[in-house]
């Protein structure tokens, strides 16, 4: 196959998987209700904290609102779980068939993983944005609505940054997939991700609100690019003219995580034991 035909194969994988995952509409509606509820709880907690703030916090309440609602809208984008089908393939040994395909295993799985992150996010993001951006402003809870981007430029930069977030998240999910080949410890590692990833990305507490002595560490870790960076670009907490550098840093992490994932998969293939008959 020519190189061009290869890329069409990977693109086809992304589209087919997306169509399959978009079937789960009922789950998406239920998920929307859940995330809306969590969002309101968070807003109320921050209202209470801001009301009793003794010193000026490094973020305004409006910037926190953006952070909360974008967080609820883009929650499914975070790499906190693995594709159950890939996990099953590894456990049952049918991963052997995948190795026979005339495609590079890393790219093949990466294409699947992109779809695995993209489809549920799309389904959940649209109703959440519609509700918090369009509907909330005309209710008594207008103070809690999602404000528009700080400027047109901030809005555009936000979109560019979210694309980087998608790749960053897929690259990290790939590392989680590969660790599953070390069955027991892989599962142990994957168990911890739902706890660790949201905190380091900023979904539990916006990263700028953490104590100053932690800021250096929080800046130089890849999860920041999965929530904190795009959210702060939207609200203008990261000014539009500083956004490009931040997006560059996101892509830098994408490159690092992909390189690490490929290296890890290469090592894993040598110790892969195909189970079952």
């Amino acid at each position: 196959m020519s190189d061009h035909a290869h890329w069409r194969a990977y693109l086809a994988i992304v589209t087919v998987r997306c169509r399959m995952l978009l079937q789960y509409r009922a789950a998406a509606i239920a998920g929307f209700g859940t995330q809306l509820f969590w969002g309101f709880i968070k807003v109320m907690v921050f209202v209470a904290f801001y009301a009793s703030a003794v010193s000026e916090p490094p973020m305004t309440f409006t910037e926190v609102l953006v952070y909360i609602w974008l967080g609820q809208a883009l929650l499914a984008l975070l790499p906190w779980n693995v594709d159950a089908e890939i996990a099953t393939q590894i456990r049952t040994g049918s991963v052997a068939y995948e190795l026979l395909r005339p495609l590079d295993l890393y790219r093949f799985w990466f294409a699947r993983t992109l779809a695995f992150r993209l489809a549920p996010t799309t389904l959940r993001m649209l109703p959440m944005l519609a509700f918090t951006f369009l509907l909330l402003p005309v209710t008594p809870l207008a103070d809690w609505a999602l404000p528009p981007p700080a400027s047109v430029m901030s809005g555009l930069m936000f979109v560019v940054s979210v694309v980087a977030t998608l790749f960053l998240s897929a690259a990290f999910t790939m590392i989680m997939h590969v660790t599953l080949i070390w069955t027991v410890s892989g599962e142990g590692i994957n168990r911890m991700m739902p706890g660790i990833v949201p905190v380091l990305a900023g979904l539990i507490v916006p990263l700028p609100l953490f104590p100053e002595w932690l800021q250096g560490f929080l800046y130089w870790q890849p999860f920041r690019g999965m929530a904190d960076v795009p959210f702060r670009i939207y609200s203008g907490h990261i000014p539009a003219d500083a956004a490009l550098a931040e997006i560059g840093l996101q892509w830098g992490w994408v490159a690092v995580l992909i390189a690490f994932g490929i290296w890890l998969l290469d090592r894993a293939r040598h110790r892969l034991v195909v189970q079952g008959g």
Binding site: A27, A30, G31, G33, T34, F37, W38, F40, I41, M44, V45, V47, A48, F49, Y50, A51, S52, A53, V54, P57, V184, S185, E187, G188, R191, M192, P194, G195, I196, V199, I204, V205, L209, F210, P211, L214
Partner: protein, 271 residues
């Protein structure tokens, strides 16, 4: 027919069998428990960070919120471990049709599900809850007379019963929806999240919902105010605060009534 062992004996056997099975995979069990511990510790870090930044949450100090957090996070993992059968009921019993097998056995379905898969690994989260609660108790320097100790134990037991009832409600719902619905997580995991902060900081509508419809505040916030020996900003009296956890048992009774109705409605998926 020879009658089988009494219900508590049978339940004990189911649980011990389940625990023995989990300990067979020692490394896996250890990693799962550590996983739960790490996950919950990291969550608590979020609350700590907010207090570092803001100092107080209204009139509430970090130690007071940690006390409330501790009660909830000691009770919830116990319910989670005990009620796993109900938690996975939709996906593993209704969707697959396996519930038919339970109905054929000469024992109550509640007993069989209660004994299904006692999740020992939740000990990781329990450990975290105990550490936070212990820290809060040391820092708060309360006078631990026997009455207060009894009130704390009664609060935790009521909370376990309440969360157990939530899992039964979740399972009952799947008689109608077939699969487990994520929306129920709003009440279980969302409930835990909500109860970690004082009820008084929420809007009146939310407060009423979590007092009178789903009595989450009754098993955490109100008794905690009594235990802390402070005045409730919502204006309840000590008697109300101490009686409030009884709502957890009432909620449990309602859950069992709902469960019966669900079984009557049940039609097998037949696969």
């Amino acid at each position: 027919m020879r009658p089988g062992p009494a219900a508590p004996v049978l339940y004990g056997r189911l649980v011990s069998q389940s625990i023995r099975a989990q300990i067979q995979y020692r490394l896996s069990f250890l990693l799962m428990s550590v996983g739960h511990f790490v996950t919950s510790v990291v969550e608590a870090v979020g609350i700590w960070a907010l207090f570092e930044r803001f100092g107080m949450l209204g009139q509430w100090s970090l130690a007071e919120v940690a006390f409330l957090y501790g009660i909830v996070n000691v009770a919830f993992p116990m319910s989670e471990a005990l009620a796993r059968g109900f938690d996975v009921f939709g996906a593993q019993f209704v969707k697959t049709g396996d519930f038919d097998r339970l109905l054929l056995r000469p024992r109550s379905t509640v007993l069989q599900l209660a004994g299904h898969d006692f999740q020992l690994q939740r000990i990781g989260r329990l450990a975290q809850g105990l550490i936070v609660l212990g820290w809060a108790i040391v820092v708060l320097d309360l006078d631990w007379d026997p009455a207060r100790v009894v009130l704390l134990l009664y609060t935790v037991v009521s909370a376990v019963v309440f969360f157990y009832a939530l899992f039964i409600f979740q399972a009952t719902l799947s008689f109608w929806t077939v699969d487990s619905l994520e929306i129920m997580n709003t009440l279980t995991y969302g409930g835990v999240e909500t109860a970690q902060y004082p009820l008084a900081i929420y809007r009146p509508g939310f407060r009423r919902f979590f007092t009178f419809v789903v009595p989450l505040g009754c098993i955490s916030y109100f008794p905690a105010v009594a235990l802390l020996g402070i005045d409730d900003p919502l204006g309840t009296s000590r008697a109300v605060q101490v009686a409030a956890p009884l709502a957890g048992y009432l909620f449990f009774a309602l859950a069992l009534v709902g469960w019966r109705a669900g079984i009557r409605h049940y039609t097998s998926t037949g696969s």
